[in-house]
Symmetry: C2
Subunit: 410 residues, 2 copies
């Protein structure tokens, strides 16, 4: 795509009041725009990154046999009353009345998915069920700061699985855990799998996927040798302690929660009557687990981890474009840059081409550094019939032929 | 995908109270589920169709240079007050208060997109802007009937364009009109482009894209010879009249509105201060137009148009799968059907394989007819090393080799 057509252009100043680095950079580089506290538009660049994040999640979940669908965002009070969460989650839910009927906006979907399951006459052979969607969540967060890391309206992928037995639930729970680790690895995020409390979801422990980052709102304790890791809500260790499971030492860090998984058990099915009939004719509640990942929170997290003082540095797999092509407007170079652009498009490579006129090379380079696409290509008088190749994460500048550029990109 | 794993299975009975054919068939065939009046889950089959509808829309809009993004669903009262629509659209909007702050759910996004544009210091060279998203809309419809045709929560693609001049706006308006006709044609829907009033959007006339159907809530008058067509809200002709623009005759029909486009003008920009500075330094309001298509309403419309007494008959371009493979469980045929399934997948063909055991051939055929995938393939003892080919829309049954099947599918 031509940068001259992209909405919006980068801006010099960070928004007033923005503290978190991801907030400042995502706004300045034109990835997001704040409508009100905790509420953001995904602008075309941000939308592209989130779509790539979603596709990675989608691929790995489909691999586990999960099926994608889409549940509603506005829910009737009645269904939330069945589990008591209309009251117990009142603080976090947006609830309202219209014509004497009460509604809540989706802060999660356990009740809705259990309602869906119980309405369909599920046979033994249909289990396990693995259903997910990407949908908007609304949570009345008192502190909506940290940019898109803690929003009041955000995207979530939530997966729900229903099983005949606890053993089967635990088996799939472990499978999703492995899928999550793969998902975050594909985005070049290193995560700790951390034991945590179940919050308003369950009285059992859950697992969080935490990325170490000073801007994180969680505090975790983890072993420097083994996989032991706990959220401070439940941790009985402190920094400097000996690890309870090996001879390692406990460290502590702030961290951003990018995913969480809950082995919910039979509570939801019992309260809502999601029952199956076993071989002996007995009615039994299904075992439920739920699994969340926040694609928009990941957008912010990735920027927290991948940036320098010039701008963002996207990992390749989720960069909005593969290549940022900069045209230095030396007279006579127009046909070359057009040829390079067309040839890259022809090869199926996603290119953002800074085709602006009357803009200095320095400004174009600064724009490229701010947006953070991993590969910068330059066409200028100096590059002649070659192309300048520079990676966003390095300093090295190379002159390559078009064929060499393509070979490296493939 | 294996049908044995699909959630949910088809069901014999239509939901109580369902009147519209699309509602009955989409629920029975497992495409949608009703959470409450006017609110539906897109089940895995329905989700697949809607994704295909979205991709067709996306491709044709991108072709016009439009850029995809995603705007929030919960809006602050303040922005709706700027145009007066907090009051004037009160009936249709879901409005509520939380902690002394008032919000509305998105019933449309004009105010939000204009806010976005005015905040970014747009230069003359940045125009025209063409921005769209697929997002959830909430409308407090008094009569939420006709299944997914008139829901209170539904998906909409809304495109907004901003221009320096009326001429430029009109030019793009016509371009989008052509894109819409292409979009509906790709879904095998024949539409009338109908003049209509601007509703709560504008005091100017708009254009609706109407599909003739007895279940439709609109009444239109159109010429049997030329393109003249008007919604009865504004029509000054009646059935049997002579066409005002040619020598044709006026006909009338019920119709379903699947899209609409509004040449909004400068009202929004004037009220909200979305101004640009022209060459002479004067501040001028931008010209706005908006363009909607309802992907979930299209799901219902397609079923209204494409069904018979056995079930749905999807047009190829938006069918949830390309092929429905039925295994008649004759002993010894398992390796053949597995081979055919694997080979189809290998070729990149989307197959729904009815692999259920202990289910009669008759029941499997009825399931295939109800779901409505355009091609049914059968493997049984009778078909030997050939495959039975039958189209959903015809009666003819043919025996083909695997190579012939592939050739026809490509």
């Amino acid at each position: 795509m031509k940068y001259s057509l992209l909405f919006p252009k980068t801006q010099k100043d960070a928004p007033r009041g923005a503290e978190a680095e991801n907030h400042k950079l995502l706004v300045r580089a034109g990835f997001i725009d704040q409508l009100m506290a905790g509420s953001f538009t995904l602008l075309p660049l941000g939308f592209r990154v989130v779509e790539k994040i979603k596709n990675i999640i989608r691929e790995e979940l489909n691999e586990t046999g999960a099926q994608e669908m889409l549940m509603p965002l506005m829910h009737p009070k009645e269904v939330w009353n069945e589990t008591g969460r209309w009251e117990s989650a009142k603080e976090v839910m947006y609830q309202f009345k219209k014509d004497d009927k009460e509604f809540a906006l989706s802060f999660t979907h356990e009740e809705i998915v259990v309602d869906l399951i119980r309405k369909h006459n599920i046979k033994l052979s249909d289990f396990p069920l693995k259903l997910y969607h990407f949908s908007t969540k609304f949570r009345h967060e008192l502190r909506a700061k940290s940019g898109i890391l803690r929003a009041r309206e955000f995207l979530m992928k939530d997966l729900y699985s229903a099983h005949l037995t606890q053993v089967d639930m635990q088996k799939y729970y472990e499978e999703v855990k492995r899928a999550y680790i793969k998902i975050f690895k594909r985005m070049e995020l290193s995560v700790k799998v951390v034991e945590a409390s179940g919050g308003v979801f369950t009285d059992k422990n859950s697992h969080e996927f935490q990325v170490l980052a000073s801007v994180g709102e969680d505090t975790i304790f983890y072993c420097d040798k083994c996989d032991f890791a706990q959220n401070d809500e439940i941790a009985k260790v402190k920094a400097g302690d000996k690890c309870p499971t090996c001879d390692g030492k406990i460290l502590t860090s702030k961290a951003i929660e990018v995913g969480n998984i809950f082995p919910l058990g039979t509570m939801y099915a019992e309260k809502m009557g999601a029952l199956y009939t076993d071989e002996k004719g007995a009615q039994k509640p299904v075992w439920l687990a739920s699994y969340g990942i926040g694609p928009t929170r990941l957008l912010g997290t990735l920027v927290e981890i991948y940036h320098d003082d010039k701008g963002i540095m996207w990992p390749k797999s989720i960069s909005p474009f593969e290549v940022h092509l900069v045209h230095v407007e030396d007279p006579g170079t127009e046909p070359t840059v057009q040829k390079v652009y067309d040839a890259l498009i022809e090869k199926g490579i996603e290119v953002l081409w800074d085709d602006r006129t009357n803009v200095s090379a320095g400004e174009k380079f600064a724009t490229a550094d701010l947006i953070g696409i991993p590969i910068r290509l330059v066409v200028s008088k100096k590059t002649g019939d070659k192309i300048e190749w520079k990676e966003r994460s390095g300093e090295k500048v190379e002159l390559l032929s078009f064929e060499e550029v393509i070979k490296r990109l493939e």
